[in-house]
Symmetry: C2
Subunit: 251 residues, 2 copies
């Protein structure tokens, strides 16, 4: 790609939108300039452009995004086959086992939920399509990392912020790499309260017809209700069925 095939203003604008993530919903021009590393004048022009297009509101001091911004992510969710294909399977699976079922893909060091069927939310975590979790300590993340060539998986671990969310969290890259090998052998990953105390989950890879891993499927449940050691026996059969049913449908 040539230098001139890159639109700097567009890239900067996208950076500005992402500056609104997680933290404050209301940002001043200077806030955005600081968070993005852009010049204040440039940040201001990006924000005014967003406001002009209806993606943001401006009260003279603070900018905040409007729901119109959801059009951008929705373009992906409604246009991409994966979320639409797996959703009905998640619904059925979730109802069958009485727990939340989700599907996700890898984006850098994080997993991104692309579809989800929730049961009564007892956990503190509130997840929807678009939600992100660190890959290294999530069951679906483990499955997706295990599907990569070892050098790639190790590179992603190296780029990750491997912090111990709980006393159960595995943070040693070598321990994690060994875990990936086990996952490849057994075909599933189990997380025992590594993300949050009281939360266990089990995940399997979703392969397409050509055998490539294109996503991960998981079931999450309170540890009190489904201890990690019981999960494979209890949930794997139903998950394997979904896995098999989806294989011929995935591109």
């Amino acid at each position: 790609m040539r230098e001139t095939d890159f639109i700097g203003g567009f890239a900067k604008g996208l950076k500005v939108i992402e500056a609104f993530g997680e933290t404050q919903p209301r940002l001043t021009i200077s806030d955005v300039a600081r968070d993005t590393g852009l010049d204040r004048a440039t940040a201001r022009r990006c924000l005014l452009t967003l406001a002009e297009l209806g993606y943001a509101r401006y009260d003279g001091k603070f900018f905040e995004l409007t729901p119109r911004i959801l059009r951008l992510g929705h373009a992906y969710l409604s246009a991409t086959p994966l979320p639409r294909l797996v959703q009905p399977f998640l619904d059925r699976l979730s109802e069958e086992v009485g727990q939340s079922a989700s599907a996700s893909v890898l984006d850098g060091t994080e997993i991104v939920y692309v579809a989800r069927a929730a049961q009564k939310r007892v956990m503190s975590i509130n997840l929807t399509a678009g939600s992100r979790l660190p890959a290294y300590c999530a069951s679906m993340g483990r499955v997706l990392l295990a599907a990569l060539p070892e050098t790639e998986a190790r590179a992603i671990l190296a780029a990750s912020d491997l912090k111990a969310n709980t006393s159960f969290t595995k943070t040693d890259p070598d321990v994690l790499m060994a875990e990936f090998a086990r996952i490849r052998r057994e075909g599933h990953a189990v997380i025992d309260q590594e993300l949050e105390i009281g939360l266990c989950s089990i995940a399997v890879p979703l392969e397409n017809a050509r055998g490539r891993v294109v996503a991960a499927l998981n079931i999450g449940a309170p540890a009190a209700h489904a201890p990690a050691v019981d999960m494979p026996e209890r949930y794997l059969p139903a998950m394997r069925a979904v896995q098999a049913a989806l294989r011929p449908l995935l591109a």
Copy 2:
């Protein structure tokens, strides 16, 4: 705003992202140029920029969005108070009545789902945060339009594509305006299979502490299970409770 405070390249790039909505997930340069009205050279630069940043993939022929694009919408969902505040209430409400509960806001002629708690999905419609429906024929849309000054509501109707999705759909602006007046008097809207045969729903406005309508809340159910005429009696009490509980929490 001055002319020079607008970044054309950014606006064009956003238009390109939205071109992926609804239709095909895989678009060529020419497809995008046609759909957006942009010059091919410009569309190409926007697409290459998206690919360079990891928001899109390019196989030499087709572009498709990657899940990274969800960062943009997620910036809104995680940063804005409304979705996070209402989600637990929707969960409880949905479980209590055994039907799907949702919250949405108005964006132009459409409502945008900002949070949702789904029960077993019997309907053909698959809705998640970010999903859009025409306001004129959705229960939440009626509630939100009814909350606007009459001239504004009429202007939005005028801009809407008032098509009859079913034989029940009300499409006459005057009939709809009369319906809005009724909704203001009674405080709720009921839809009887106007969007899809077999689907009924009821909605109430969500007001903030200052009495401004900031969103709408609804319950949707199969007509076979909950005929439209029975909905107010059956669901309104629980919905009123949520309405009252949220009022002091909303900005």
